[in-house]
């Protein structure tokens, strides 16, 4: 099922966790992959993907740093000549909230908005011109189910992570806007809003000792990564501007593209 031969994908935050999973799934589908991460082991993660017979490269880079972003994107262009798929996945989490001390919040803001929102923005803005010149491409920005909750779950991230939620709502704003701006240029832009998925981050969140019940609840990264592959497989005519909910306890699937809402009748 190697369907993506000849294509080049860029996955951010791909040393471990879900990012690594996306890169693995892409490589298995025959796609050349470029990975970046602040973790130096991203180089080894990339090397391991070559067993699938694809070209794979790893960059140590901070997605919040414009120079790093340019270095990665320019490097991909030099080495691979094109970028067909971007998965802006790098993300980080820290707790905090409205009652935090300002100095703590300013530090958290730099980290959370820097990585989760600015990182997505910078990679999008660096890659979009490439895709425009190529005549098409696909972008998946990774948000969280806090910005698209499943039925019956009333709240967003709760009371203790407003800055994380700010960063992810911002990602959604970028997705919706880019999708609209690029719809006529065959560039599809969608978001994933997923709930708890087994990853490096989530395990850390549970002090690397989740209870068996907890662990059993989590979605499997393979399932989420497979969903990304299904989204990519829709090809140039596929959906765009959609914020796809991926929820614990629900079928992990792409819903059929909903029919247009009827025009509201004039008053």
């Amino acid at each position: 099922m190697a369907r993506l031969q000849g294509q080049v994908a860029l996955v951010t935050g791909a040393a471990v966790g879900l990012g690594r999973g996306y890169a693995e799934a892409l490589a298995r589908a025959g796609c050349d992959v470029v990975l970046c991460d602040i973790r130096p082991e991203v180089v080894d993660t990339a090397a391991a993907l070559r067993r699938h017979g694809v070209r794979a490269e790893g960059y140590v880079a901070d997605v919040a740093n414009p120079e790093d972003v340019r270095r990665v994107v320019d490097g991909v262009l030099t080495g691979f000549g094109r970028i067909d798929i971007l998965i802006a996945n790098a993300g980080t989490w820290r707790g905090g909230g409205a009652k935090d001390d300002l100095d703590k919040s300013l530090k958290d803001y730099e980290v959370l908005i820097g990585t989760n929102l600015k990182g997505v923005y910078l990679f999008g803005r660096a890659v979009i011109p490439v895709m425009l010149a190529q005549g098409g491409g696909q972008i998946i920005n990774i948000a969280t189910d806090h910005v698209h909750t499943h039925p019956g779950r009333p709240t967003a991230g709760g009371s203790g992570m407003d800055l994380y939620d700010i960063s992810k709502w911002g990602v959604l704003g970028l997705t919706l806007t880019w999708a609209k701006a690029l719809a006529d240029h065959h560039i599809r832009v969608n978001s994933f809003s997923m709930g708890a998925t087994d990853s490096h981050m989530l395990r850390g969140f549970h002090n690397n000792a989740p209870s068996p019940e907890e662990e059993a609840r989590w979605m499997k990264p393979e399932a989420v990564c497979d969903l990304a592959m299904q989204l990519i497989a829709e090809g140039p005519a596929g959906r765009t501007g959609e914020n796809i909910g991926v929820w614990v306890g629900f079928e992990i699937e792409l819903k059929p593209v909903p029919a247009a809402k009827p025009e509201p009748a004039a008053a």
């Binding site: 910078l122 991230g157 992570m161 700010i166 919706l176 609209k180 247009a260």
Partner: protein, 307 residues
């Protein structure tokens, strides 16, 4: 006794437009107001409000200057003894097409996010301890109907990704804040309005603005202005919102419709509403059917009733 007598309110970006209207109305309801803006014109706004007999504190500074924010909040509480209301209104709008050069893209991110998001967060963090001490309070973040559209085609103009993202981001501030602060009797909501007659909007219709083809040297023509909402009416809704006591909501305010709070929404209803919208596939967005403009007028529901 006036509704807000004995209370203190901060309004950011109050030199003109909606911020000025919020400050005037809060003062008229009896609150002492502390207002600020990067434009020195805020001093004249302050003097005019003081002339009505209200207590006013006025400072000119850049809201992205964190230490200036600290001194402003400190001066406010030193002068009036308490802080009850914060309106995060200051914002910038920038045209940021995705094809912009890299250096502009970098500068724009900080320019838009620092005012529209970071400063709002900073002001919240500074205000909350005083509101807890006062036994409660109201924080209102000024967003846009882009994040709560009444019509499918009026949202998320394609050439302002950062402005759009900044206002979507405020959902996180309001959501998280409302939940964290509810036990302290502090409410946090967002006002999400459509086109309102302010300098920010009029400037778009002047030569060089993105809607210049619909305007003239003086900005929008009268028939277009007639479709804008009046900042004073939005300020009236701010008062209604505080009297109502709800929290954690995005309040939609749409041109051509009654300006009203509407029924309270449960948490889950509110979240579904957002999710349902964001789940809409993009290619079903058509150009606005009423528009004769040469290009789609994305954000202008000019005087068109939508339901």
């Amino acid at each position: 006794m006036a509704y807000l007598s004995g209370k203190t309110a901060i309004v950011t970006g109050a030199a003109q437009g909606l911020g000025q209207a919020f400050a005037e109305r809060l003062a008229a309801e009896g609150a002492a107001v502390a207002i600020c803006d990067i434009q020195p014109g805020v001093m004249a706004v302050g003097s005019a409000i003081a002339a009505t007999g209200a207590d006013v504190l006025c400072q000119t500074f850049d809201i992205t200057d964190v230490s200036a924010c600290r001194s402003f909040v400190a001066a406010t509480t030193a002068r009036f003894g308490r802080l009850d209301i914060l309106v995060n209104n200051a914002a910038v709008w920038r045209s940021t097409p995705v094809t912009d050069p890299w250096d502009k893209a970098l500068a724009d991110f900080d320019a838009v996010m620092d005012v529209n998001v970071k400063a709002a967060m900073v002001m919240c963090r500074l205000a909350v301890p005083h509101m807890i001490a006062a036994g409660g309070g109201d924080i209102v973040n000024i967003s846009t109907d882009y994040v709560l559209p009444k019509r499918r085609d009026g949202v998320n103009a394609p050439d302002t990704d950062l402005y759009n993202a900044s206002k979507w981001a405020l959902n996180g501030l309001t959501d998280g804040g409302a939940q964290a602060l509810a036990p302290h009797n502090i409410r946090m909501n967002s006002l999400c309005m459509g086109p309102t007659d302010t300098e920010m909007l009029r400037a778009l219709f002047r030569p060089g603005g993105k809607l210049a083809h619909l305007g003239g040297p003086d900005g929008p023509p009268p028939e277009v202005i007639a479709g804008f909402m009046d900042p004073a009416d939005i300020a009236g809704l701010l008062i209604d919102l505080m009297k109502d006591g709800r929290t954690g909501e995005n309040i939609g305010i749409w041109a051509g419709q009654t300006i009203e709070l509407g029924p309270r929404k449960r948490w889950d209803v509110r979240m579904r509403e957002r999710a349902d919208f964001t789940g809409q596939p993009l290619r079903d967005f058509g150009p606005p059917p009423w528009s004769d403009a040469p290009e789609p007028v994305w954000s202008l529901a000019v005087g068109q009733p939508t339901e």
